[in-house]
């Protein structure tokens, strides 16, 4: 027994360094309160012209537009303790880092509202003699932008330049050629085949028929067979639409590749804007003047229609009491998986049209960033070929911190092998250590010794991630109902458009605000 004492103490001395683990982000229990529906009866009743529910990009954009048009009688209610929705961010002593959305491609110059917002936020600093926007170069993604771990080495660019066989190369080029042709294609209705906002794209049947099949079937029908293109598009679908290649509408994939036609005075058209905190930077800009208009930790648990007014039942998590708001206009910037639980009346909406798969987003603090270099310097976006994860983004990429050996990388994993419900069950109640091993096992494929480099892992579990554009989403009746809104209720989440990008949420917010303004006139 005595002998065991020094043995034990020496054990702990040589024990592996502890990796700090934590779950961050919103508490799922709060959101699930809505489903349980056990709230106290309201004790006060208030009147307000417009109520906005949800403080993601859609809600903030709607509020900003109302304020710009001198409409001030509104309030934003948010169930979480912080605003931002899928564009929330975390922070530790090394850097800020995204919890979800993390970049904005250079927008098309025709998207005037967005360009104006970027000017107002000093992201665009001026225009050149051709009228092209000049971007603040601290926000344009620095080189090196992306790399892929392919056939045992890191290579510049995704897809890689080296290591593809002739068939893979041919198929990749053929696919990219189609996307290039679609970039400049105009439909019979004189609208661009694919553009952002998506709602302004052509309704020409020639392009709309792509919405009737999955991109997987499209590839099969058009003789794309190589493993690489299948992996690459599956990766793209998960990364941009939060679901796999078989679930995604081919139209959505072509929209992704062919709608980005941004122009800038000081950047190429495929470039993008990014920040250490990801799109939370844009959240801060959107909400700059909304401080006194936002109430966090307020759950809207019931929406009732009474004559031509709407009543919202709201539970204040801090005061532990309920309030009844009577409003002329209601903007629901919340996703449909929330809305379906709060309507106190029948709608024609089919909520099964809206799918949200779960995600893990883990921010990993690395104690020696140089060790991640390999044959290529650490890029902003780092993808591992063959992995089911989406790789990681270097949160410190836009920082100037060469004096700090550490960095934070944000690791993304989308769960969409089976139905969203089954996938959600799979990730339920897994603890921090489960996710630690899960992540390390995957990253080991490209960084053998990564476990020794990790100081901390901060894990966000998204039970419902971004909206996924499934086959037929463009012609979905439910989506059209949401686009128009009904009975002074308007929808401003990006799921109204069917794809989850900043531009769409921003656009849906403005559309909803415009409807409110029209109503009031």
């Amino acid at each position: 027994m005595l002998l065991a004492v020094p043995y034990l103490s020496s054990c702990s001395l040589f024990d592996k360094r502890q990796i700090k683990l934590a779950f961050i982000g919103s508490d799922p229990k709060v959101g699930h309160l809505i489903r349980q529906n056990k709230f106290p009866e309201p004790i006060t009743s208030k009147k307000i012209n417009t109520l906005i529910v949800g403080s993601g990009i859609g809600g903030l954009s709607a509020a900003r537009h109302l304020l710009k048009n001198n409409k001030t009688d509104f309030l934003i209610l948010e169930l979480d303790s912080v605003i931002g929705g899928n564009s929330k961010a975390g922070k530790n002593n090394v850097s800020e880092f995204p919890m979800g959305a993390h970049y904005l491609p250079i927008p098309t110059v025709n998207f005037k509202e967005l360009i104006d917002f970027l000017v107002e936020s000093k992201i665009i600093t001026g225009f050149n003699s051709d009228g092209l926007p000049i971007y603040n170069e601290y926000y344009l993604c620095f080189e090196p932008q992306e790399r892929i771990y392919f056939k045992g080495i890191w290579q510049d660019g995704i897809p890689p330049d080296n290591g593809l066989n002739e068939i893979e190369k041919e198929e990749l080029l053929r696919f990219l050629k189609i996307t290039e042709e679609f970039k400049n294609a105009i439909g019979t209705d004189n609208k661009p085949a694919f553009t952002i906002p998506l709602e302004l794209s052509s309704n020409d049947e020639k392009y709309l028929q792509l919405d009737k099949i999955s991109i997987f079937d499209y590839l099969k029908q058009n003789n794309f067979k190589s493993n690489f293109i299948l992996w690459y598009l599956d990766y793209c679908c998960k990364d941009d639409f939060g679901t796999n290649i078989k679930n995604t509408s081919a139209w959505a994939v072509f929209h992704y590749f062919s709608s980005r036609n941004g122009k800038a005075a000081n950047a190429a058209n495929h470039e993008l804007l990014t920040w250490p905190e990801g799109n939370n930077f844009l959240v801060k800009k959107l909400s700059a003047e909304l401080n006194d208009k936002i109430k966090t930790q307020h759950i809207v648990y019931k929406v009732k229609k009474i004559e031509n007014k709407t009543k919202c039942y709201v539970y204040d998590l801090v005061k532990n009491e309920s309030i009844e708001y009577e409003c002329e206009n209601l903007i629901l910037a919340t996703p449909q998986f929330v809305n379906k639980n709060i309507f106190d009346f029948k709608t024609n909406l089919n909520f099964d049209d809206f799918n949200y798969y779960p995600w893990i987003v883990a921010s990993i603090t690395i104690n020696n960033k140089l060790e991640l270099n390999g044959s290529q310097e650490l890029s902003w976006d780092n993808v591992i070929y063959g992995s089911k994860s989406l790789g990681y983004v270097n949160a410190c990429h836009q920082n100037f911190n060469s004096d700090d050996k550490r960095t934070v990388i944000t690791y993304y994993y989308n769960f969409s092998e089976e139905s969203s419900k089954i996938e959600r069950n799979k990730i339920r109640e897994k603890d921090e250590n489960y996710w630690k091993s899960f992540i390390i096992e995957d990253l080991k494929n490209a960084h053998l010794k990564i476990e020794n480099l990790i100081e901390e892992i901060q894990i966000v579990v998204w039970g419902h991630g971004m909206i996924s554009p499934k086959v037929g989403f463009r012609s979905s009746k439910s989506r059209q109902i949401l686009e128009n809104g009904f009975d002074n209720i308007y929808f401003a989440n990006s799921d109204v458009s069917g794809i989850s990008i900043f531009e769409q949420a921003f656009y849906r917010g403005i559309c909803a605000a415009k409807s409110v303004l029209n109503n009031t006139k």
């Binding site: 344009l140 310097e377 911190n401 060469s402």
Partner: protein, 504 residues
């Protein structure tokens, strides 16, 4: 019988001589290797010699346990010394790059060799004690031992290192050791047991060592370690870079990540040309900023201007600023500039610092390493010079070390064009540096007084009339159009890789 006995003794005494030579050579190799790889030769040599002698003591001590079959043991030990001594420098070269506990391996091998060598003489004396009278024995053995030592210590620096190099030398003496054992095997064939076993062993070891000897150049280049021909006087891996300082024939050189930064015999040209053309064009310069240049050499030139009141030096790596502020020969080189009361040293990322500072400067010296990777490339970007614009006083100037317009013409002009794209006037200039070749700078300003003001008197190279020559670019290195280096394209490091890639 008498005669053969005499011959045998002589043979054994010759072995003493060879063994002593080899033994000292191994010690010198270990000492040299340790100071090559670890730096600080005084410490390394002291430790190595101490450990080696101590281990020989251990060897002598355990020699008392060898009582039977002394000749067999002696031959066996010779073979062992040969293999250990022969291959240890190779092991160390490889271990240096690969293994964390390099020192442990180094000291282990030293002690192993020392112990084996320490066994040799006592055992030999026991063998000889029946053949030679004691007084004579001691005197003869130690005479040959010390002659061997003298021979080795003269041979090693004058012949072995210059003509053979470290690896070949170790293999050569390893072979010599084994040859002794082979000769003894044959001479005393009938007296010793296990003679076949010893012979085969000796043959195999000789073969291995011969292979090492023949391929030692390949091994050396494979080991990828320092191929410096110079004496390393300091070496350290800081979190940011590998710092190596060498000294040979009074010339000091600094290498960062194996790239030459300066050579003390012509650095004055580089630093005078970096500082004086710009600084002498400012009337009473007061506030100076130096970015990079932690060696204090540009600073030394700046301090020659009496009007200068305050200097800020920003260098990422405090190992450099500390080294150049503490080492005596380096302090002599920079004239103790880093101890100046006018100076404030800040060890941080230059881009981060300049983004945040509210101060303004009359003259800014930008002396970063060449743009060979993305993190350094940022410091040559439009946004960096935009920040420089903010901190430059009205009428101020800045100068940028801009790599070689000869070896990297596009890179050089890309730096010039990037600076010019922000609305600065630029004066590109260059000069010849014996250690580097043709080297380029870019001087930039918003507005400039035409006249020259104060220029220090005690310069070795630069005088006003030099400048007219320096701004003249011959055709082969003249202006070329380039893209502008931005954070989101880092075009400069692509140019640089292309151009310097062809040189190396």
């Amino acid at each position: 019988m008498e005669k053969s006995n005499k011959n045998d003794s002589f043979l054994l005494l010759i072995s003493v001589f060879i063994i002593a030579t080899c033994g000292l050579i191994y010690e010198l190799i270990a000492g040299t290797l340790a100071s090559y790889l670890l730096g600080d030769s005084v410490t390394q040599f002291s430790i190595i010699i101490g450990l080696y002698l101590f281990s020989m003591g251990i060897g002598s001590f355990i020699s008392k346990y060898f009582k039977k079959n002394l000749l067999v043991w002696f031959i066996q030990i010779e073979i062992l010394v040969g293999i250990v001594g022969g291959v240890s420098s190779t092991i160390l070269f490889f271990a240096f790059e690969q293994v964390a506990g390099f020192e442990i391996i180094l000291y282990f091998l030293i002690m192993l060799t020392g112990t084996l060598v320490g066994l040799e003489i006592p055992i030999l004396m026991k063998i000889l004690k029946d053949k030679i009278e004691f007084g004579d024995l001691v005197s003869k053995v130690f005479t040959f031992d010390y002659i061997g030592a003298l021979f080795a210590s003269i041979l090693f620096p004058l012949f072995m290192i210059p003509y053979m190099g470290l690896l070949k030398t170790s293999y050569f003496f390893g072979i010599l050791n084994v040859v002794v054992s082979i000769i003894l095997c044959f001479r005393f064939e009938e007296e010793i047991k296990y003679v076949k076993f010893l012979k085969t062993q000796a043959l195999i070891v000789t073969l291995i060592l011969l292979l090492g000897f023949v391929f030692s150049n390949k091994i050396q280049s494979m080991a990828e370690t320092i191929s410096f021909n110079e004496n390393i006087i300091f070496s350290k891996s800081s979190p940011y870079q590998r710092i190596i300082l060498t000294s040979e024939k009074g010339v000091t050189k600094l290498y960062l990540n194996n790239n030459l930064q300066f050579s003390s015999n012509d650095e004055y040209r580089y630093h005078e040309a970096l500082v004086h053309p710009g600084l002498s064009k400012i009337k009473n310069p007061e506030n100076i900023l130096i970015l990079g240049g932690g060696d204090g050499l540009a600073l030394r030139e700046v301090l020659k201007y009496p009007s200068v009141k305050s200097i800020k030096l920003i260098d990422l790596d405090n190992s450099i600023t500390h080294l150049f502020n503490t080492s005596e020969p380096l302090k002599k080189l920079n004239n103790n500039s880093l101890s100046s009361s006018k100076l404030q040293v800040i060890n941080t990322d230059a881009f981060k610092w300049i983004k945040e500072t509210k101060e303004k400067f009359d003259f800014i010296i930008i002396d970063f390493p060449d743009p060979s990777n993305f993190s350094v490339g940022k410091l040559y970007s439009t946004m960096f010079y935009k920040e420089i614009k903010k901190v430059l006083n009205q009428g101020g100037l800045f100068v940028v070390q801009s790599t070689s317009p000869f070896f990297a013409r596009k890179s050089y002009w890309c730096i010039n064009n990037t600076i010019a794209s922000l609305g600065f006037q630029t004066i590109p200039y260059h000069l010849y540096l014996p250690s580097f070749g043709d080297w380029g700078y870019v001087l930039a300003y918003n507005e400039l007084d035409k006249e020259n003001f104060f220029l220090p008197k005690d310069l070795k190279f630069y005088e006003e009339k030099q400048f007219a020559e320096m701004i003249n670019f011959p055709k082969d290195i003249g202006y070329v159009q380039t893209e502008i280096n931005k954070l989101n394209n880092q075009i400069l490091i692509h140019y640089f890789e292309d151009e310097w890639g062809k040189v190396q």
